[in-house]
Symmetry: C2
Subunit: 370 residues, 2 copies
């Protein structure tokens, strides 16, 4: 992940100290995994402070074994933890959970961001209620980075919003662009709108209208237009914008295909003696390939569009993956993701308000009505 | 592709002769590719007759070089060909095109099915207008077979319908089940409804309602419930049902990821001398893997829900791929796909009519409204 600074963001200089709130109780690996991850993060980001929320007795037992983590952590006790399978509505009612208090700390500006490997649905619900949606944004989205044939791509929404209108899609474009600037360090990320064809008349009305608005916006020069599913890994654009249903299905479909390909490739080396010899010959290259595709390297989905940096680590991750999620939070705080987004939003606002859905009657292909 | 017969279908016995109408002018490879494909098909299916539509002068020039193809083909001259980039609306106005006449031949029952590698949009439009939608089906869908870690999967809709309601999804399940029976030869294919989570409350109302209807239908015992993107390649179900937008994006995303993985694998073998030696050692196993994933093996998307078998070959395919598309048409005709679907539809009908959209108010997670 690049740390090159984005020119227009009011950024926190690298030497300046800032605080991240970390949910010590989230994730399948529990406090031990979180603290082992913070040990790695402490090495990479000596300038950060961690406010670690959770059961102080358990955290206090583990921390002495991770002295670097201990050196950047302050523990604050919380009574409860949100179970991984708890319904969001129940998590909202649960007082004094480590996840809830982490959000409260960010909303009081005691910390600039929060990282948790806990229950995603609970995290989104708590973030909406406590950290709150940024003015000018109707709904936060879930964004993450994936590998492509050219470099990394930012994709959103990955499931925070099952149904979206054109306004949501335009906002996702604004948030995705700011995210690619902060976390990938690109000066002018290009944006594609996921559709079933690249032609202007493809897709439904909300897609065509979102494209019209973007073509007529301050983001026009970075807006590539419609892209298709295979453009994601082709690296056609730096940002891929889609609704949360399609984004979630595309992400998981891609993960599934990659697992199938890896398993086939393993069979090539395991199916014969010659294969095992070949494996020894290409082991270093295979290792590089595996590292490059390592899902832990891409850990750290972000809920964008909130009044603070909110990073969700995969629940099943290990310390290396958790440290990558902390990297994302550090990049976003350091490169002023939220400020950069606010300034972009104020320039977009007049435009979006001017347009209404009534305007959106675009010529529809006759065939769809046959 | 399995040819084992489906028990309930009124099938055409293997020795019985039937006719397929083939568009001789469609596809990037043109008549030469089509006829070379028919040469392969003639070997595999000695019992079929081909009515080949197109420019008789051009077809007559090529056919003598493919004697096996010539032995099963009757050429019928048509004046025009639908260009690959023609709008569907324009293709509908084009009289005497090879694609249009192929559809007319099927609608007059001169042939039992049609195969074309031409323009997809034009093909769907002409099929709807000329072959017409089957009684009991509101909209035809595009289905195809893909490889999974366990076997093959039937997926639909792949783009014929950008927006769908619950009724369309239920119909897709019926059509996909009949397709898996005919073409994969499965006695009782399982069905999954693509969603962003497996829990019953996930997704939007049309998905939850379609699931309710299927759980309460003659297909109940084969209905697995909701599945996620990574279930497609995991082979969790034999049939994956989704709307045409999501299906198209998922299919193309998967293709893109597979291309990226293949290119990474190639680099492993090309990046060093040791790699080139290793390649020689595992060449047979790599060859088998490549054959198994060969997109030509999965060529032949089908427009299901029409009064005839309509198979769309990929436009960029070669003779081997075109022959695979002919295989699909032969399987569907031979195993009585359309009859099997009609009998299933009559058993579903009373059920679907009984239910109305007004019924569909399912409890919605509070979080989505926050």
């Amino acid at each position: 992940m690049s740390l090159s600074s984005s020119p227009e963001a009011s950024s926190v200089p690298e030497q300046e100290i800032f605080t991240l709130a970390v949910d010590g109780m989230g994730g399948d690996g529990g406090p031990e995994m979180v603290i082992a991850g913070l040990q790695i993060a402490a090495d990479r980001h000596p300038g950060i402070k961690i406010l670690l929320l959770g059961d102080s007795a358990r955290l206090g037992e583990i921390l002495p074994r991770y002295p670097k983590a201990a050196s950047i952590c302050t523990v604050r006790h919380t009574q409860a933890a949100v179970p991984m399978d708890m319904k969001p509505t129940a998590a909202l009612r649960l007082r004094d959970s480590s996840m809830r208090v982490a959000m409260e700390v960010v909303s009081r500006k005691e910390a600039q961001g929060v990282v948790s490997a806990g229950n995603s649905g609970a995290m989104l619900a708590l973030a909406k209620v406590i950290v709150r949606t940024m003015p000018g944004i109707s709904r936060p989205a879930m964004a993450a980075i994936s590998p492509t044939r050219k470099g990394d791509v930012v994709m959103l929404d990955l499931g925070a919003n099952v149904t979206c209108d054109w306004r949501n899609l335009v906002e996702f474009a604004v948030m995705g662009e700011a995210f690619a600037k902060s976390v990938l360090g690109l000066p002018a990320p290009t944006i594609g709108l996921l559709n079933v064809g690249a032609e202007e008349l493809k897709g439904d009305e909300k897609l065509r209208h979102a494209a019209d608005v973007l073509r007529d916006s301050p983001l026009a020069s970075q807006f590539h237009g419609f892209i298709e599913g295979d453009d994601i890994t082709a690296g056609t654009t730096d940002v891929v914008v889609t609704d949360g249903f399609t984004g979630n299905v595309a992400l998981k479909t891609g993960e599934g295909v990659l697992r199938m390909a890896s398993s086939l490739f393993r069979q090539v080396f395991q199916s014969s003696f010659a294969g095992r010899v070949a494996y020894l010959l290409v082991r270093p290259a295979l290792h590089r390939m595996r590292e490059w595709l390592d899902p832990r390297r891409y850990n750290g989905a972000v809920f964008v569009g909130l009044n603070g940096v909110v990073v969700k680590s995969h629940g099943g991750t290990d310390a290396v993956g958790f440290a990558a999620a902390v990297d994302v939070a550090v990049d976003m705080v350091r490169h002023g993701f939220n400020d950069s987004m606010k300034s972009r939003l104020s320039r977009m606002e007049s435009l979006t308000v001017r347009r209404t859905d009534a305007n959106a009657s675009v010529e529809t292909e006759v065939v769809t009505a046959l």
